[in-house]
């Protein structure tokens, strides 16, 4: 299996951003109550994550590294992600209004999604090339979307079942999430990819 394939599967399943790295938990619990909103959020994340890892990669290697300003990367990356989301929102509103209305409120919400920032950092920590970084971002985004969809389906069913009153709402959601996370542990070692 090629390197890119390994990176993709690693980001998608083995080191799933939500269930293995425990990042992006706010949208994971916030938006996973309904299937449709989960899908909208997932699509927006894939889109922005890919764009953000591209731009931050170049920013890091072209500006921050030569100027010896690596310690500023958190501030710079947050700045870049926030502006990027704004830019994408404007662009979509003008050029692809259908996509814009489909993503709706979830696009600006992504600004504060820690999973995006994490992916941009990981790209640099793993010393990825631009192509690898893109693959990693897409894999992570799809992994995030898949988990969100799985969990939205679980929660839609949870609503219908008799749950002890003290566990209703987020409590049972956390228990369910831990079980799904346990299930994902089974992917560790797939194609020789470690945690």
């Amino acid at each position: 299996m090629s390197d890119l394939g390994v990176i993709f599967i690693g980001a998608f399943l083995v080191n799933n951003i939500v269930l293995m790295r425990f990042l992006g938990l706010c949208p994971f619990f916030g938006v996973s109550t309904r299937f449709e909103s989960a899908l909208g959020m997932g699509m927006a994340v894939i889109f922005v994550m890919t764009m953000a890892s591209w731009i931050t990669w170049f920013l890091y290697h072209v500006i921050l590294l030569p100027m010896e300003l690596i310690f500023l990367r958190t501030a710079v990356f947050i700045l870049v992600i926030a502006s990027l989301v704004q830019l994408v929102e404007m662009f979509l509103k003008k050029s692809v209004p259908a996509l814009y209305s489909a993503l709706g409120i979830y696009l600006p919400l992504i600004t504060t999604n820690c999973a995006i920032l994490a992916v941009t950092f990981l790209n640099i920590d793993y010393e990825f090339s631009p192509l690898e970084a893109t693959t990693f971002a897409i894999g992570t985004g799809i992994g995030f979307t898949m988990v969100l969809l799985i969990f939205a389906s679980i929660r839609e069913r949870l609503d219908l079942y008799p749950i002890p009153r003290s566990l209703k709402g987020h409590a049972i959601a956390f228990i369910a999430a831990s079980l799904v996370s346990l299930a994902f542990l089974g992917f560790v070692g797939l194609f020789g990819i470690a945690l």
Binding site: L64, L79, M90, F91, K94, Y161, P162
Partner: protein
């Protein structure tokens, strides 16, 4: 030194991003019709889809571009239609206000169950199992799917297990009517006070066995209706709301009380001294509530009068008034 570098670096990135955003704003700005924004503000924002558009945004766009009629918003009713009309500079009439009514009175006491159901407490889940756990296969499953889907919190499960619709909150958007797996909800004009409280197409004993308040398809309502507004279709009366005047005669004549009257207290008739004793009112009264000799002032028997107003309608000298109609408001 490093501080200056950091300032330049971070400030530079911020400046570049700011400039890019400013240019992009100029380039990608979408001219939104100010009318559209105003209309969107007026709309209730429930995104119920009763107008036929996906949400309030698309409807506002359609109205602003002249694609859609401005009076389609059912939750907003006449008020919203009038205000949109103001913006567009046209006068409009609102659509008739409708409210949702439950065509079933099969409460826990009245309608027994045919098997014990222990599944998820949801109408749709229950419906999958042979059409529900209730002995009556037409009736409401009492699990409140309509309560969940109502965007206006107008429905709640009452003490008898049946959903109760608040006529003040209900906007007639029709979501519950579509969502109900049993189809026992229907839209009725708000001004109309009478609706059929049963959905069973069975007859006689078959209905009696499964529900104490079910319609047995006897057709008495169709016979007694003075306005020919009721027709029996497949053993179930159907009210023609174009003809119905909500007199309530059918409600009182129904042997199983399967027709519901939304009026809580009906008025009663009073005959004044103008009465010349022609006897027209005695002929139309179906409840033997008027007595008196011909040529002399007639008298209303209060216990028998149901307040249908038939005598009031036929009196040639205008001697009859209806009094005590406190319950006409919901």
């Amino acid at each position: 030194m490093i501080v200056i570098k950091a300032l330049i670096g971070l400030g530079g990135v911020g400046l570049i991003m700011g400039i890019i955003l400013a240019i992009a704003y100029q380039k990608f700005r979408v001219e939104v019709d100010p009318k559209e924004e105003k209309i969107r503000e007026i709309l209730p924002g429930a995104n119920c889809g009763a107008c036929g558009y996906v949400n309030c945004d698309t409807y506002a766009h359609a109205v602003a571009t002249g694609e859609a009629e401005p009076n389609l918003c059912i939750p907003g009713g006449s008020e919203v239609a009038a205000r949109i009309g103001e913006i567009l500079g046209v006068e409009l009439e609102a659509k008739e206000k409708m409210i949702s009514c439950l065509n079933c009175q099969g409460s826990i006491e009245v309608a027994p169950e045919r098997y014990d159901y222990h599944g998820p407490k949801d109408c749709r889940s229950s419906y999958i199992l042979l059409g529900g756990y209730k002995a009556c296969t037409y009736g409401c499953l009492r699990m409140g799917h309509c309560v969940e889907v109502c965007p206006f919190d107008a429905i709640e499960l009452g003490p008898e297990g049946l959903p109760v619709i608040d006529p003040k909150k209900c906007t007639g958007c029709g979501i519950c009517v579509e969502e109900c797996p049993k189809g026992v909800l229907s839209l009725v004009p708000y001004e109309q006070k009478v609706y059929i409280g049963c959905a069973s197409h069975d007859r006689g004993k078959k209905v009696k066995d499964v529900c104490k308040k079910g319609c047995i398809g006897c057709g008495i309502c169709a016979k007694v209706c003075p306005f020919d507004a009721i027709e029996l279709v497949d053993n179930l009366p159907v009210i023609d709301y174009k003809k119905c005047v909500s007199c309530g005669i059918c409600v009182h004549k129904c042997p199983t009380k399967a027709i519901v009257d939304r009026v809580k207290v009906r008025p009663y008739a009073i005959i004044s001294t103008k009465c010349d004793g022609c006897g027209e009112c005695v002929k139309v009264c179906q409840f033997k509530a008027i007595e008196g000799e011909e040529g002399k002032r007639h008298r209303v028997i209060r216990e028998n009068c149901i307040g249908c107003g038939m005598c009031f309608r036929v009196c040639p000298v205008g001697a009859i008034t209806m009094a005590g109609a406190l319950g006409y408001e919901d």
